[in-house]
C-alpha cells in the first residue's frame, strides 16, 4: 500500500483551524527558522481516513480474530472503557493542576480513580501499597528493581549486587535488573519446569540482592515450591520480586503477597483488560509489602480522614520520579472500570476460566504436539513443535498456517528452554466453540505437517504480503520514507 507521503498533492489540507483573532507575532529571527517546511502529508481528511482505515484492515486484532499469543493475555477489551477515557473531564485534565495552590481540590475525581484502582489491586495482590506510576510492564520491573536497590542501600548492604533470574524468564527481567545497576546470575530450571532448588541454593549468598521469579512461570506452570523459594531468598538476605505478567492465571485465587514475595508488577494491559494498542501504551503497577513502602516513587496518592485525596511528594526515602506524573492515567482509568465491573465475585471466574480454557487446549492437542510436563498447566500451555520440526515443519511454519485460518499465532520460540515452542494462551474471554475451532485447525495442521511438509513453506497465502525478507531489512535498513 502506498505510504501516506506518496498520496495527495501540494496544497491539499485535511483539517480546519480557527481564524487568527490577534495580530501576527513579530517574525522569529531568520537564524532560528527552519529552512524548509517539514515534508508532512498533504491530503484531505477523507484521504487520511481511508488510508488509516485500510491500514487497520491489514491487522489482526482481538475484536476480529482469536489471538492466543502466549504470555500477552489478549483478552477482550470492553469498548465502553474507550468512551470513559475520552470523557472531557478526564481527557482534558492537565496533570499539573494538582501542583497549583490547593490544586488537589481541582482533580478529586482523577485522584479517586487512581487511589481506588490502587486499593483494589493491592488487595488482589496481597500487598500494602501499589504504585500506579510505571508506564509499562518492563517499566514496572525496573521500578521494582530500583526499590530493591534502595532498600539495600538504606540498610547498608553495599555488597548485595546480584539479581538471580531463572533461565525461563522474559528477556525484560535481566534487562530491567541491569538498568537498575544489578549484576545478573541465571538460575536453572529443573526437568519439571520448576526452579532448580539446588542450583538456587548454590547461587544464594552475601552478594544476593534478590530473585526475580515469574509466577506462574513462562512455561505456564505454577511452581509448587514458591513459598520455599521465597524463604530461601529471605534467609540469604535477599528480596523476592514477582513478575506478574501471568497474574491472570491466579487472580482471585492466589495473592502473591501471601506467598512471601516483597514486590511485584502486574500488567494492566494483560490481566486488567486494557488494550495493547499494537505495542502500548501499557501500564505496570508495582505492589510492595511494608518493607518497601518507604521507597515508593513520588507522588503518592493519600486519602485523608475527610474522604478527600491528596498527593504526597515529601517522602524522604523515596526513589524519586520514575514517571512525569501519576502513571498512564488513561490506562489506569480503563482498568478501574474493569475492576468495578468484575467485582469480588468476578475475579476468581477470570482465573478459573483462563486455566480451564488452557487445559482444555492442552488435553485436546497433547496427542498431536509434544507436551513435556506431567501436570496441569495454568493459563497457557507451552507445546513443542519438535515432532513436526523433524519433518521440516517448524514452529514458525505452524504460525503462518494459522494465519491462513484467520487465527493469530501463539507466541513462538519462547520460552527459550523449550525447542520450537508454541506458547498458547486462550484467555478466559474465549468461548468453548472458539477453542474447538482452534483445536481443529491445529489438528489439521499437524496432519498436513505429516503429509505435505513442503506446503508450509509458502504459508501464509491469504495475507496482503507473504513472508518478508527480515535479513534484508536488518542488513540494509530502510527506516524512513
Amino acid at each position: 500500500m502506498k505510504s501516506i507521503f506518496e498520496q495527495g498533492r501540494a496544497g491539499r489540507r485535511g483539517s480546519t483551524l480557527p481564524q487568527p483573532d490577534v495580530p501576527p507575532a513579530a517574525a522569529i529571527p531568520a537564524a532560528l527558522r527552519r529552512r524548509t517546511p517539514p515534508a508532512l502529508p498533504e491530503v484531505s481528511e477523507l484521504e487520511a481516513m481511508r488510508h488509516f482505515t485500510r491500514l487497520g484492515q491489514r491487522n489482526m486484532g482481538v475484536a476480529a480474530n482469536f489471538y492466543p499469543l502466549g504470555s500477552c493475555t489478549m483478552k477482550y477489551n470492553p469498548p465502553f472503557h474507550e468512551r470513559l477515557a475520552a470523557l472531557p473531564g478526564f481527557a482534558g485534565l492537565h496533570p499539573l493542576l494538582p501542583q497549583l495552590r490547593h490544586g488537589a481540590a481541582l482533580t478529586q475525581g482523577a485522584l479517586a480513580v487512581i487511589y481506588e484502582a490502587e486499593t483494589i489491586i493491592s488487595e488482589l495482590l496481597g500487598f500494602e501499597r501499589t504504585t500506579m506510576q510505571p508506564l509499562a510492564g518492563a517499566h514496572g520491573e525496573l521500578c521494582g528493581c530500583m526499590l530493591i536497590a534502595a532498600y539495600h542501600r538504606d540498610h547498608g548492604n553495599t555488597e548485595r549486587k546480584v539479581m538471580l533470574i531463572p533461565d525461563a524468564a522474559h528477556g525484560t527481567n535481566p534487562a530491567s535488573a541491569a538498568v537498575a545497576g544489578f549484576v545478573i546470575r541465571e538460575v536453572a530450571s529443573d526437568a519439571d519446569g520448576n526452579v532448580d532448588l539446588a542450583d538456587l541454593e548454590a547461587k544464594l549468598g552475601p552478594d544476593t540482592a534478590g530473585l526475580m521469579l515469574t509466577c506462574p512461570n513462562t512455561l505456564g506452570l505454577f511452581d509448587p515450591n514458591v513459598r520455599e523459594i521465597c524463604a530461601l531468598v529471605h534467609a540469604a538476605g535477599g528480596l523476592c520480586y514477582c513478575d506478574g505478567a501471568n497474574f491472570n492465571a491466579i487472580i482471585g485465587r492466589v495473592r502473591p503477597g501471601d506467598l512471601g514475595f516483597d514486590v511485584m508488577h502486574v500488567n494492566l494491559h494483560k490481566t486488567f483488560a486494557t488494550p495493547h494498542g499494537g505495542g502500548g501504551p501499557g501500564s505496570g503497577p508495582v505492589g510492595v509489602n511494608a518493607k518497601l513502602v518507604p521507597y515508593l516513587p513520588v507522588s503518592i496518592v493519600q486519602k485523608r480522614a475527610d474522604g478527600t485525596y491528596a498527593l504526597e511528594y515529601e517522602c524522604e526515602r523515596s526513589i524519586g520520579y520514575i514517571a512525569p506524573f501519576y502513571g498512564n492515567f488513561g490506562v489506569i482509568l480503563r482498568a478501574y472500570a474493569y475492576l468495578l465491573t468484575l467485582g469480588r465475585e468476578g475475579f476468581i471466574r477470570v482465573s478459573e476460566n483462563a486455566v480451564l480454557n488452557a487445559n482444555y487446549i492442552r488435553v485436546r492437542l497433547a496427542p498431536y504436539y509434544e507436551w513435556k510436563f506431567n501436570r496441569f498447566c495454568m493459563h497457557e500451555c507451552v507445546f513443542s513443535a519438535a515432532k513436526q520440526a523433524r519433518n521440516g515443519v517448524r514452529a514458525l511454519d505452524i504460525a503462518k498456517a494459522l494465519i491462513d485460518r484467520g487465527i493469530h499465532p501463539p507466541t513462538i520460540y519462547f520460552p527459550l528452554i523449550v525447542p520450537e515452542a508454541l506458547m498458547i494462551e486462550p484467555t478466559e474471554t474465549e468461548s468453548r466453540e472458539t477453542l474447538d475451532e482452534f483445536i481443529q485447525a491445529m489438528i489439521e495442521i499437524a496432519a498436513l505437517a505429516d503429509k505435505d511438509p513442503a506446503a508450509f513453506h509458502d504459508f501464509p497465502l491469504t495475507t496482503p504480503v507473504s513472508r518478508l525478507d527480515e535479513t534484508r531489512a536488518a542488513r540494509h535498513p530502510d527506516l524512513t520514507a
Binding site: 502529508p41 488510508h51 486484532g61 476480529a64 492537565h94 502500548g280 501504551p281 527506516l479
Partner: protein, 444 residues
C-alpha cells in the same frame, strides 16, 4: 459473568474433558494447593451502566472548565476528531506488538510512517517506534551517549524541564553516572557555563528546545563546541514548535528526544503520552526501542517488519540497549494521524497561531501595573512574567476567577517564587486572553 462466554454447562463439560470433577481438582492438578484468599473488602461487581455513571460523576469533579494557560511541556492543543476515530478502531487498539508481520502490516506501516514523520519534523535521518514519554526518552538518550562514548558523565542544563531532570536523577542513581546540572540564567541556558562543564570525561550535553521557559535558543555553536570536546549533543524538543523552528538536524544534534503529547494526544492527567527519539544514521544500531523497517516479500512486494532486533531485550537480555518492551504504539499512531490531518501547512498555521497568541498574551499581561516580562529572547508559545508577590498565591486566586493562569516556577526553582510561566495555545481566544489579563489585574 462479565466478558466470560462459557456457561456453567460449558464449564462442567470442559472440566470433565480435562479429567476433573471440580475446579478444586483443576487447581490442585496445576500445583495450586493454597487456601482461597478472602476478598470481602472488595466491592461487588457493577453493570456497564453503573460503572459509566460512577466515572461520569468522578469526571465531573475535575475542574476542566478552567481556562488553561498551564504548560511546562504539556499543552492543551486542538485534536481533530479523526485522530480518536482511527485509534479507536479495534484493528489498531486490540492488536499486540507486531511480532507476526504478515498479520500486522497495518500497525507496521503506521509505525514506519510515524518514524518518517518524526524524521521529517526533527530533521534527523532515523527515528524509533516510540518510547514511554519525553522524560524516559531523554534518559534513554543519555544512556545511549554513555554506551557510544564509553564515558559516564553527563551535563544537563537547568533550563531542561525540572520534571525530566528529576526523572534522570532517579534513574541515574544506581548506574554510576555523574550528572552535572548547570543552573539556567534568567530564561536562557547558561551556554558558557554549560560548555565550561564539558570536560574530556563527558559523554553528553542535554538541552531543551525551546527551553522550559519557552525561550528559543540557537544551539548551533554549542553543538559544534560539544563535538570538538568528543561528547554528544542531545536535545529534548517540543515537536509542534519544529513546524517553524530551525531543526535539531540543522543544528547537528546527535540525538533528539521529545514529549509527543502536543501531536494529537490528550492531556489525560499525565498519560499515556509519547516519547520521541530520532538519531543520526551512525547511531541507528545503538538506539533503544522498537524499529520498523521496509523490506520485500517473496514476490518482491513491499512490506514492513520489526528490525534491528539484535539491540533488544528479548535477544540480548541483560546486554540489551534498554529494557523497554511495550512502548506507546497507539500514541505514535495518534501523532501520525494528527500530523496527516493537520498536514504540512496546517502544522505551520498551528505554530503561527501559538506564536501570535502567546505574544498577544504577554503584551496584555505586561501592560498590568506590577507585572514585568522576564527575559527578552524569542519565545514560542510560553513565556515568564514576574508578579508583584507570590506567584503561587496569585495563581490560587485566579482559580477562583476560572483561570489556570500559568505555572508558578517557585515549585521547582525556589529563587523564582514571583515568576509565572504562561502557556498559550491555538485554542485560546482573544477574549479568553483579555479576560485572563483583566482578572489578573483585579487580583493584584
Amino acid at each position: 459473568m462479565p466478558y466470560i462466554a462459557n456457561t456453567d454447562a460449558d464449564r462442567r463439560e470442559m472440566l470433565r474433558a480435562v479429567g476433573c470433577d471440580s475446579f478444586e481438582q483443576l487447581w490442585t492438578g496445576a500445583g495450586v494447593d493454597l487456601p482461597y484468599p478472602m476478598l470481602e473488602n472488595l466491592p461487588r461487581g457493577l453493570s456497564e451502566f453503573e460503572v459509566t455513571r460512577r466515572l461520569e460523576q468522578l469526571a465531573s469533579r475535575n475542574h476542566t472548565h478552567l481556562v488553561n494557560f498551564v504548560g511546562l511541556g504539556y499543552y492543551d492543543h486542538l485534536i481533530p476528531a479523526a485522530v480518536g476515530e482511527i485509534t479507536r478502531r479495534s484493528e489498531f487498539y486490540t492488536a499486540y506488538t507486531p511480532y507476526q508481520p504478515e498479520a500486522s502490516q497495518g500497525t507496521l506501516q503506521a509505525i514506519y510512517e510515524y518514524q518518517s514523520a518524526m524524521s521529517r519534523l526533527t530533521g534527523m535521518p532515523v527515528a524509533n517506534a516510540s518510547l514511554y514519554d519525553g522524560g524516559t526518552a531523554l534518559f534513554e538518550a543519555m544512556m545511549m551517549a554513555v554506551r557510544i562514548t564509553r564515558k559516564r558523565r553527563a551535563v544537563i542544563s537547568g533550563a531542561v524541564s525540572p520534571i525530566f531532570r528529576k526523572m534522570i536523577q532517579c534513574y541515574s542513581r544506581n548506574l554510576d553516572i555523574e550528572l552535572v546540572e548547570v543552573p539556567a540564567d534568567g530564561v536562557t541556558s547558561a551556554t558558557e557555563r554549560l560548555l565550561a562543564a564539558v570536560d574530556e570525561r563527558t559523554a553528553c550535553v542535554l538541552v531543551q528546545y525551546p527551553n522550559v521557559f519557552g525561550t528559543i535558543e540557537d544551539w548551533t555553536s554549542l553543538v559544534a563546541e560539544v563535538h570538538a570536546r568528543k561528547a554528544l549533543a542531545i536535545c529534548s524538543v517540543y515537536p509542534l514548535a519544529l513546524a517553524v523552528l530551525k531543526t535539531p538536524g540543522e543544528m547537528d544534534f546527535d540525538i533528539v528526544t521529545g514529549e509527543g503529547q502536543s501531536l494529537g494526544i490528550p492531556l489525560s492527567f499525565g498519560g499515556p503520552y509519547l516519547g520521541i527519539m530520532a538519531v543520526k544514521q551512525e547511531h541507528m544500531r545503538r538506539m533503544p526501542g522498537r524499529i520498523c523497517g521496509r523490506t520485500v516479500d517473496r514476490e518482491g512486494r513491499e512490506g514492513f517488519v520489526l528490525t534491528l532486533q539484535a539491540r533488544e531485550q528479548h535477544i540480548r537480555r541483560e546486554h540489551a540497549m534498554s529494557n523497554i518492551c511495550s512502548n506507546e504504539s497507539l500514541c505514535a499512531l495518534s501523532a501520525l494521524v494528527y500530523l496527516t490531518c493537520v498536514g504540512r501547512q496546517g502544522l505551520i498555521d498551528v505554530a503561527e497561531l501559538c506564536l501570535a497568541k502567546a505574544a498577544f498574551a504577554r503584551q496584555e499581561l505586561v501592560r498590568i501595573d506590577g507585572v514585568e516580562p522576564v527575559g527578552v529572547g524569542p519565545f514560542f508559545n510560553e513565556f515568564v512574567i514576574r508578579l508583584p508577590g507570590d506567584a503561587s498565591e496569585i495563581a490560587g486566586h485566579m482559580i477562583d476567577k476560572g483561570f489556570a493562569v500559568g505555572f508558578p516556577l517557585g515549585r521547582y526553582y525556589p529563587d523564582r517564587k514571583d515568576q509565572l510561566l504562561v502557556a498559550v495555545t491555538e485554542k485560546r481566544t482573544r477574549e479568553e486572553i483579555k479576560a485572563m489579563a483583566n482578572a489578573l489585574e483585579a487580583v493584584l
